[in-house]
Each structure stands twice: as C-alpha cells, then as structure tokens.
C-alpha cells in the first residue's frame, strides 16, 4: 500500500478490517483463482465488482494481440528533492518497481483495437497508488506525440490517487504538462478518449483525465478531486455512499457513459470508428477481446532484466 491510497480508498464491504486476499471480491466475498479472475477480465462473476487491472493486463484486454509497442519504457523517476519522509523516496520507487515490474505508474505506447490504430496511456494503481510524477507526465506526452505524429486517436485509461507528493512542485506541474499535451491534441484535431477506472482522483482527474473528447468510466469507480475522507475531515460534511462514484458522475454531467469492462473494448472500437475519417468505412471484425496471453511490447524477460539491474544497483 502506498501513502497516497489513504486519500482515496474507501473500504468496500470489509470495514471490519483485516487484509483480504486480492482475489477475494470485496463486495460479495467470492474468491477466484488468479487464472479465472484474469480470464474474466477481473470482473466478479457473482456480483459484477470490477477488480483493479494492471497496466499491461489492461492493454492485453483492449488491444489486438501482439499489436502493442511501448514508448518511454526506459524512463525512471529520480529524486531531485532528495525527499525523505518515513522512508526515502528512492526506496519507495525501488520497492514499487520490484513489486509491480513497472517502471512507473503509466505505460504508454501504441496498438490496435479491432484493427484500428490508437495511441495508449494506461495507468497502474499498484505503482505507488498510480501517483503522477515526472515520468508519468512525460510518458503521457510521449503517447500524445505518437498520436499526433501518426494521426491516430489517443486513449487514456486512468487509475490514480493523484500527484506524487515526493516530487512536490514538479508533480504539480505534470498537471499543466499533460493538459498541454491535450491542448496539442486539440490543435492537431486528434481525438482523445479518456477511460476512468477506480480510483481516479486528485491531480489526475483534475488534469488530462477530465478532458477527453469522450469520457467514460468503469462501474463503481471513485472519481473525485478530493477523496471522501479529505472532504469529511476538512469540511465536516458527511459524504454519501455514492459520493464521487461513476454513476453519480454520470448523473451529474461529468461523464458520457459508464461502461462495464466486458463491453469496453467494443465500445472503444465503436468510438474509434466514429472518430475515423468519412472515407474509411469500418473494416475490422468486432471480435471478442483476445484471450489473456503474454503482454505485448516490452517482453517479460526484458522487464525482469531491468528489475535486476535496479536491484543490483541498490544492493
């Protein structure tokens, strides 16, 4: 658990405390084997609860097999402020990379969805609570660059507790930097679709995530600037159970649609078609999502190699 999470995590169904197994549904307590949960797109078969999805697994769920190519995978956060709270930031970074196999909280690149090329910027909550620092901001911009260079849409999938405090003002500036990338997309007439997943809060929802030409969300996702705990502690107001949830946001005019994960790929394919030029009629078949397989792009072997290097350095 990263510090950022205490802002955004509202216990769901297990207020009694106690660590639940990550594959146990917090809503209905159903338990799943890793392979069956993965095969089910991490949606509870019993109650429809949407579990968190890692960035590479999300890319697998959405893109055509083998089509994803990563950019900016070699970027790593450093620690310009020499920041130490209860632990040094550099230790936290190393732990996060070792635990998740990710270089930061976002994976950027390009791929195809039902045959249509698209740039992708996919966040991973497991990496320091999906917090936004310099590397995440740069990776988002690289994805936007790809979209502009190749004239294809950008799809962002977010999951974040907000800006990364350990980079302080530089983290804050990523809000301006990523919105600048959205401005760049707009100036070039490039479609931008934002997909918000649980949770997307703080500096991420208050910057690029809110600015999709189309904004869709997964069911039940917490989407707010301040988390419910901050609201209650700061203002003394009570928050209702549906505070900031995707369904509330839809009702309150902040979203175009709440799309269950099973329908996400086909909905994105439809949008890519709608955003495609008039001459080009849809050609791809509306195939079901590809079965889980090795993640595309940067291979696992290479990922492990990078990890070992980092570990070696610190050891």
């Amino acid at each position: 658990m990263t510090p950022v999470e205490i802002d955004v995590q509202r216990p769901k169904g297990d207020e009694g405390g106690g660590r639940r197994h990550p594959n146990t549904c917090p809503e209905c307590r159903s338990h799943y084997r890793e392979d069956e949960l993965r095969h089910a797109l991490r949606v509870c078969a019993q109650c429809g609860h949407h579990f968190s999805v890692g960035a590479y697994e999300r890319i697998e769920q959405l893109t055509d097999p083998g089509s994803f190519v990563e950019v900016g995978g070699d970027l790593r956060s450093v620690d310009p402020l020499a920041f130490v709270d209860l632990r040094p930031y550099t230790d936290r970074l190393l732990d996060a990379e070792l635990a998740t196999g990710l270089g930061d909280s976002m994976v950027a690149g390009q791929g195809r969805i039902v045959g249509r090329p698209t740039a992708l910027a996919v966040m991973d909550f497991a990496f320091m609570g999906g917090s936004m620092g310099s590397v995440m901001g740069e990776r988002f911009c690289l994805a936007a660059d790809l979209a502009i260079e190749q004239g294809m849409p950008l799809i962002a999938v977010t999951a974040s507790g907000g800006a990364r405090m350990q980079e302080n003002i530089l983290a804050l500036m990523q809000m301006a930097k990523t919105v600048g990338a959205v401005d760049d997309l707009r100036e070039h007439g490039i479609p931008y679709i934002s997909v918000l997943t649980h949770p997307t809060t703080g500096g991420v929802i208050a910057s690029f995530a809110a600015l999709g030409d189309v904004v869709i969300a997964e069911p039940g996702a917490l989407l707010s600037f301040a988390g419910p705990r901050v609201v209650e502690q700061t203002t003394g107001e009570k928050t209702s159970a549906d505070f900031g949830r995707a369904e509330s946001n839809l009702r309150l005019g902040q979203l175009d649609s709440v799309v269950p994960r099973r329908a996400l790929r086909s909905e994105l394919a439809k949008l890519l078609m709608l955003f495609s030029p008039a001459e080009e009629e849809p050609t791809g078949d509306h195939a079901p999502p590809p079965p889980p397989s090795e993640r595309a792009g940067l291979g696992p072997a290479e990922r492990v190699r990078n990890l070992l290097r980092l570990r070696g350095r610190r050891g």
């Binding site: 450093v78 901001g137 919105v179 995530a209 901050v230 107001e237 902040q254």
Partner: protein, 294 residues
Amino acid sequence: MVRVTDEVRRLRRRFQERAEESHIWEAVQLARHADRPYTLDYAERLFSDAFELRGDRAFNDDEALITLLARYHGQTVVAIGHQKGRDLSERTRRMFGMPHPEGYRKAIRAVDLAQRFGYPILTFVDTPGAYPGVNAEERGQAGMIARSILAFCQATVPVVATIIGEGGSGGALAIAVGDKVLMQENSIYSVISPEGCAAILWKDSGQAKKAAYAFRPTARACLDLGVIDRIVEEPHGGAHTDPAAAATFLDEALRQALSDAEQIPAAERRAARRAKFRQMGVWGVVDDGSTEAV
C-alpha cells in the same frame, strides 16, 4: 543503471545541503500571514482603473476568485486572482480564497474575454487549494480545474502568473499557467499543504514543519527546479510590513515579465507556453552502460 543528468545531481546536493534552512518555515508563515496583501490590495495599487467581471453565467458568483478588466500602465489587461478575506465575515464569504467550480468557470470566462480582445492576462495566485466540499465535487471541481488549465494553455495572449501567497495544489495551478511565472519571495507553491503532506506521509498533520522541510514549497526551490522564472523581492520582514513597497517591487517585475511575454509572437505563444511546461520534470533513463546511482 538509471542514468541521471549532472543537473539532477546538482539539485540533490543543493537540497541536501539546505536541509534545515530556517527560511522554509518562515516562508510558510509569511505566505499565510493575516496581514499579507491580497489580490485586491495589489489591484488597487497597480491599476489606474478596474471593473470587476462577476459571475460564471451558470450558477453563481464565486467571490473566492475575482476577475477584473483593468488598466495597467495605459494598457487594458484582464486580472484573475484568488481573494482571501480580512475579517471573519469576508473570509467566510470568500471561502478563505478556496474557489468552487464556479470560480474557475468565471476565470475561464475572463480568459475568453482577454483572448477575444487581445488583452494580456495577469494572475495572482493565493489559495490553500480548491474547496474540498461535497457541493464543489458534485458540480465538477476536478473537471473545471482541468478546463481552466486548458483555457490558459489555449490562450494566445500574453499570460503572467504570480504566486503572491499560498500556491496550493491544483486550485492554484488552475490559474498559474503563464508565459512567465513569478513568485514573491515569501510565497509558497506546492502540490499539497505541509499539513496535508504530513497527515499522509507522516500520518500526523502536526508534522507540517517536517513535511515543509522535506518538500520545499519555497520560491527558491521552485526557481531551482525550473518551475518559476523569477523571484519577486518583498520588503524586509514580508510584504505585509509595507504593502506599498511590495506593490512597487511587484509592479517592476510584472512590467518586465509582461514585456518579455509580449516579445513572443502571438502565433507561437500557445506552442511556446506548452513547451515551457513540457520541459518541467526530472527523470532518469534505464541504460546498460551507466553505473551512476541516483
């Protein structure tokens, strides 16, 4: 194996050396001083005429953020600033300078006006942050902050932003994307308040001073990190000791910054502003050859 630049190493060394400098906490206190000049205090001294543009044309007039059409050295500008209150009644009315979405919607309207008439924009940043209440959330606080940032990105008129007190989080940044960004000597600028940072990272908001030392919300750190362009001098002891002198220092800095911003051709200004913020951030690159530790 993560290759970092000399610049990063220099920054780290500099910050490690300055670990306990007393100025950090002093700046936090001065930035929040009850007598510190606010946006309207400077507006009175800087502008020969002003007309307040009120209302978001949708829901209300958020007095935590004010927008003015004003004459500055013979030129019409649009001024946008957070506004705290002096006495309890005004503080409550102005929500301690913490805007609701309506405030940012008003700011966007002011940017649009400036844009249509080619007026430069001067912003004055002084907020603990956007108001974190249920109503503000329900009316789209996050999205409106994002749209305000976007409006500032899209503007092709010159924009000069100045942090004059507390530059707190996204609520501050929403009006702080400028061609030139200035900070008064004793103002602070940070992603979260020291108290908020302490509450989360130290699990104790009483550790705010410790948090402030760690994350350095000072003008000097912001300048070192390339986030601001200039530090604006204040009278000895802080702007509140002599508001007129503080305004004179600010006036000189604003004129210079505005003049610099006006040098950028209008057709390039949007891309140039984007490029300025694009380069903000520090990172390393995974590299086989390097043996440099972070």
